[in-house]
């Protein structure tokens, strides 16, 4: 991409029992993956509403990972089976609307698959890096944003990543 320093923003919606724990295992095993991904924990993949995914895109996510327990292994028996039907439709729909497959990826990662978690995350990050920023979705949002590029800075302290705050 044109901006060399661009780093994609990746959100992962994961279930508490398998993928979150799998990610814990990746940590315990000191495996490495890119910092781009941030996890949002829900109890079960069955509880992941596809609208969360839209919301994350609205908030500038360049790629999204959704992951839960393998089929038959759901902590709640059947949550992921329902999720599977839901995801089938949602993924088909977004794909049809022109969102590339790589932007939204689904996987099953169990609590013992720390390595798989790392592989999955790395794949999402790499795929999204290759595709570049999710400009087309951003442009949906820019309709009324770009007109006023020079918003005044209220409070220097708001730049939260700046070290010398105060």
């Amino acid at each position: 991409m044109s901006d060399k320093n661009w780093e994609p923003k990746i959100v992962a919606f994961v279930c508490n029992w398998c993928t979150y724990t799998g990610a814990d295992l990746a940590g315990t095993s000191r495996l490495k993956y890119p910092t781009n991904v941030k996890l949002i924990r829900v109890m079960c993949s069955g509880g992941i509403d596809p609208v969360f995914i839209l919301k994350a895109f609205e908030r500038g996510a360049d790629g999204i990972l959704v992951s839960g327990c393998h089929p038959n292994d759901c902590h709640y028996n059947a949550g992921n089976f329902h999720a599977r039907r839901r995801w089938t439709f949602f993924d088909e729909l977004l794909e049809y609307l022109g969102v590339e497959k790589g932007r939204l990826q689904f996987s099953w990662v169990s609590a013992s698959e720390g390595k798989k978690f790392v592989d999955v995350v790395s794949k999402v990050v790499n795929d999204v890096k290759e595709m570049g920023p999710f400009k087309s979705y951003d442009e949906l949002n820019s309709e009324f944003m770009t007109k006023f590029p020079d918003m005044p800075e209220i409070d220097k302290n708001m730049i939260i990543k700046e070290e010398e705050a105060v």
């Binding site: 990746a26 069955g46 949550g79």
Partner: protein, 665 residues
Amino acid sequence: MKIGVFICHCGENIGRTVDCPRVSKACQWLPGVEVSLDYKYMCSDPGQNMIKDEIRKKKLDAIVVGSCSPHMHEKTFRKAAVDAGINPFLVEIANLREHCSWVHDDIDAATDKAIDLVRMAVEKVKRNQPLTTIEVPVTKRTLVIGGGIAGIQAALDVANAGYEVVLVEKEPSIGGHMSQLSETFPTLDCSQCILTPRMVEVYQHPKIKLMTYSEVEKVEGFIGNFTVTIRKKARHIDESKCTGCGLCTTKCPVKKKAFNSFEENLAYRPAVYVPFPQAVPNIPVIDETVCTYYKTGKCQMCVKVCGREAISFDQQDTLVTEEIGAIIVATGYKLYNIEKKPEGSMIKGYGEYGYGKYKDVVDGLQFERIASASGPTSGEFKRPSDGKEPKKIVFIQCVGSRDDSKGFSYCSKICCMYTAKHAMLYKHKVHDGEAYVFYMDIRSGGKMYEEFVRRAIEEDGVKYIRGRVSKITEKNGKYIVKGEDTLASMPIEIDADMVVLATAMIAQTEASELAQTIGIPYDKYGFYNEAHPKLRPIESTTGGVFLAGACQSPKDIPESVAMASAAAAKAMVLFGSDKLEREPVVAKVNELFCAGCFLCKKVCPYGAVEVKEMKDRNGVVYKEIAYVNEGLCQGCGTCTASCPSKSIELAGFNNEEVFAQIAAL
């Protein structure tokens, strides 16, 4: 709202890759954050005291702790918060260790990410609702599934403590695989002799309700409050009348139609049978599939000989419902049948070594029966094909286990020991016989185990060859075993009279189905998963369900017994109090907007969603809506995602909280 942010260095674990002071400084500027601090070990007493002091001093409403995984210390920090006077559900953990410092190298990037994670947690905690734990009653009854040695032990332990037990066994008798064994290692005492008294004790125990020839059909409910439906299969014998005289079994004209599975198919059994003489209960079963009466409507020999009129051909399966507080799963194992198409098996055999083709290639349990004094050969070594005494036996270890390409990757654990035992038993009876053992490694960890193997080699002269067997071919009644002696680096050929395969212990055929019925996870082999491999090896991840014996992984008898007693203790811990506290992570319906499509009811895995009638002032029902039974809800949230109008929310993980996290990205 005043929020406190506490960043833990975790010694160097977080501090090495995440610049903790920078994180805490940056978080000071988040809206709502009153105080933001970092400390070496937040989970230590001084760390917790710091949190408590700040809560009291600054009158904080909620806290965010940036530390290790919530699975580690969420409870610790919640407790600290409660001590300082705030609701435990107003505590959020930002996982800065497992999800940040340990998985990243770049300090700048990891610190940035840590700030993001804390910010997300702050935004979530702002929306968190104070929740109170839910108390549920406990039914002080235990269900033990499986009547092998593990199930027997667990049932006896719980019953002896004074609690009621329901013991369910799918076979006509309890006893399990242990009852099939000839002798046990490393003491070589008789398996039946030590087991039978236990079986009888179970049968006579006033607190144990024994249900043999029965299977668990449905498990509903949750820890302390399970409702279990058990299918009692039709025995076609009236249990209340039968005296166990056995006349029917001896008079049954069906002689060679059904294999005797207790004898590992080395003998036949009649259509009405008791699996083995010491069976508990000593009540026969009629096998509908071979009984002449069920085929032709004639015969009824058993009816004629039974003086008690106990034969009941039209007996049907019955369903029994039991209220249960804790479940101990002790369903055991089976042997890997590597025959090419083993009947009824999910796992496809790979058919090497001529198993299933050559009659004299047998597996471990078959050899146990041949060696057993009560077995088909009355304890004399005779090979199945022609009944001759084998003069040369080859034992092959690790058949189907430790084998990535054709079998299973895991070590079957007990085969080294029982093969040594087999070879020893053979040598004790056939003094001029030769016994060869092909092994990969000898794994004999355990009290007196290594000594036992040495005895087989040194005293009994069993020949151990390190190497694998490539092929067994048959020639003139002999079995040519081709293999390699890897210590001598030589190919080797032995013309054996009989071959014994130490096939892998694998999960029961319906292990995964039962797991799904109960709602417990299992690994890729079908063995049940423990909640934690080190610290919670007895519990399944489902509350109130405990594991005992080989259903969790291959185990020998002492290990199974130990695990069974541990499971019993776990069940009793549960019964120690009258009420159970449950996390209040449950779904709740917005009654104003629920349209009553009941999609939530359809997707709920626990049947926790019920129909509620909404009535107007005149008592007329104006709509039917969903209602969540808090006792049954386990908090998965599948209902919340499926609700089209978003009129059902999961406490603790409600949509506003998730959205706040997304917004804080």
